[in-house]
């Protein structure tokens, strides 16, 4: 953290924990008797409670979307580039809510939380939650916060899936759904990458069938590998090329198998760091939630039929070099919205950073996001 806060930062923020004592029924048939959701909010809720924006996080995200937790923080929240005073999601106008989803590992109830039935961490006994379950829990949080209708539900990647699911599950409770770098369902290739990640984790000897907490250990190698393979899919060939090329850490080849190329050491470093701070069971759960997401499934694969229920307006954005969720996946969503005669706007933004582009401000991305949210703000009188 710099000595002083940037003027366009929401500043130092403190997460809050909301306890829920009423059981929540999940798609898998199980229920959680009680659970916590950890939440951050930025900006002020206006008097007619019309200016609330929900930010949904992606696979490894959490509630800390913007600002700093203390003046000692090196980095701000994960979407600080887009949330703050004068930024696309302008906290001078909107009341912004971001939570750690159920099953997460940043304070909300998840596999590493204590199971009240046993007094030990849930581990593999934590139910597999779905995007719909998350949306349900987010709606319960909205009730708690006194928000009847979101001005917008916004998310990138897996967060965009939640924004889409909101439009189907609670059509009357949001005015706009913003899905960035997202997909209406995973492809076989997407699921395949997730499966490699899961295999890496579950085949780690330290995994202990998900009960590593009881053995006072972590499946570090497995989670590191999972993150490494995931990380590759977040970047583009070009952006990796630009960042690392074939650069070596030392001058010459060593004819061994240690990390000699910069890209190798970068991936190892990212993987190692991630494996210390992220819960492996949560990683399994999040990837499964991704795999299962398919709102068209119960409509014979026809997303436009699923969208018949939706009444909000949509903004869909994709990035030219995103090969994890390609522009074609976004267009699939857009075409279904067109066929269902929903109001939708779409743009494909030229950016070299692959899937990660949704986290990186580029002029056109910022312009579009700002223009759209400005209109949302005007519409709700914010």
């Amino acid at each position: 953290m710099p000595d002083s806060l940037p003027v366009d930062s929401v500043g130092v923020v403190t997460p809050q924990t909301y306890h829920f004592e009423t059981p929540i029924e999940l798609a898998c048939g199980q229920a959680l008797e009680r659970y916590d959701l950890v939440v951050e909010t930025y900006g002020e809720l206006n008097t007619d409670r019309s200016n609330a924006v929900l930010i949904c996080h992606a696979l490894s995200g959490h509630h800390h979307a913007a600002g700093y937790h203390s003046m000692d923080d090196r980095k701000p929240g994960w979407w600080d580039t887009c949330i703050g005073p004068g930024k696309p999601v302008d906290t001078n106008r909107f009341f912004v809510v971001c939570l750690n989803n159920l099953g997460g590992c940043h304070g909300s109830t998840g596999p590493s939380s204590t199971n009240p039935a046993t007094g030990t961490p849930y581990g593999p006994d934590f139910p597999v939650v779905t995007v719909s379950d998350w949306v349900k829990s987010q709606a319960l949080l909205a009730d708690r916060l006194g928000i009847e209708c979101w001005a917008a539900v916004v998310g990138g990647s897996l967060g965009g899936m939640q924004a889409l699911q909101w439009s189907l599950d609670y059509p009357e409770r949001l005015r706009h759904s913003v899905a960035i770098a997202s997909s209406p369902r995973l492809t076989a290739q997407n699921i395949a990458f997730n499966e490699v990640a899961r295999q890496a984790i579950t085949s780690d000897r330290e995994f202990h069938d998900g009960r590593y907490y009881d053995f006072d250990t972590l499946p570090r190698r497995g989670l590191m590998l999972a993150r490494m393979v995931g990380h590759i899919t977040y970047l583009s060939d070009a952006s990796m090329g630009e960042k690392f090329g074939r650069e070596l850490r030392d001058q010459a080849y060593k004819f061994g198998y240690d990390a000699e190329f910069q890209v190798e050491s970068y991936l190892r470093y990212q993987g190692e760091r991630f494996s210390e701070v992220f819960d492996a069971n949560t990683y399994l759960l999040m990837t499964r939630a991704l795999d299962y997401f398919d709102p068209a499934y119960e409509f014979g694969g026809d997303l436009s039929k699923a969208l018949a229920k939706a009444s909000c307006e949509f903004l869909v954005l994709s990035f030219s070099t995103d090969w994890r969720f390609t522009p074609a996946r976004s267009e699939e969503m857009v075409n279904a919205m067109i066929a269902a005669r929903r109001k939708v706007s779409y743009a494909e933004i030229d950016a070299p950073w692959g899937h990660d582009a949704f986290l990186i401000p580029t002029p056109r991305y910022t312009d579009i996001f700002t223009a759209y949210m400005d209109r949302v703000a005007r519409e709700v009188g914010a």
Binding site: I338, V344, S345, E348, R364, I368, A371, Y372, R375, E379
Partner: protein, 200 residues
């Protein structure tokens, strides 16, 4: 009010579902939404126009007619398909016309008349490619790659079995002009055609 908007508006019924090909900054769709409670989408490729549309609440899809076509739209999914001042900028205007009438019961097309007397005069006198208010480009950088005259367009419609329900001719400022009505292909700068399939 711009005369072309006024004319087009008359042909759009309340609640019509419209598609605007090359919708620009969304002026027309915004106008039809307010005046006719019309719904629908605009297609556009200019980034600044797309941003403006989004800011004014016009549903806009980034889609390039030349490279992406209109395959993603279903047959008869619109009441009216509009194309104002864009026909001359697509690679295959003939195919776009077919697509317009596949998607909509009716099409409205406007384009600049390359047989307007000033353009004819300019070419005849100077021997250089003409420029005008509605065609303000050099030959090498113009987006208008398929210029035609009113007569050309009408011949194409005849050949394709497209029926012209009405034609209105205006000047470069989209104003009505009685002379242009008298000798359209010579004195009209912009024509607004309302077209439909022959058998409807």
């Amino acid at each position: 009010m711009r005369a072309d908007l006024e004319i087009i508006q008359q042909w759009v019924k309340p609640g019509h579902h419209v598609l605007d090909l090359g919708c620009g900054d969304g002026t027309l769709l915004d106008f039809l939404k307010r005046e006719r409670n019309a719904s629908g989408f605009g297609l556009e490729i200019n980034p600044d126009h797309i941003t403006t549309c989004m800011n004014r609440g016009v549903s806009v899809i980034e889609q390039n007619l030349d490279t992406q076509g209109l395959d993603n739209f279903e047959d008869n999914s619109f009441d009216i398909v509009l194309m104002t001042q864009a026909l001359q900028a697509v690679r295959r205007p003939d195919k776009v016309l077919d697509e317009m009438l596949r998607l909509g019961a009716e099409g409205i097309v406007t384009f600049p008349n390359f047989a307007h007397w000033r353009l004819r005069w300019g070419l005849a006198l100077s021997g250089r490619m003409p420029e005008s208010d509605s065609l303000p480009y050099k030959w090498y950088n113009t987006p208008n790659i398929r210029l035609c005259t009113f007569k050309d367009f009408e011949a194409l419609c005849r050949q394709k079995g497209i029926r012209i329900k009405s034609r209105r001719v205006v000047d470069g400022q989209h104003q009505n002009n009685w002379l242009a009505r008298l000798w359209p292909n010579l004195l009209g700068e912009i024509a607004i055609y309302r077209i439909t399939r022959e058998n409807t």
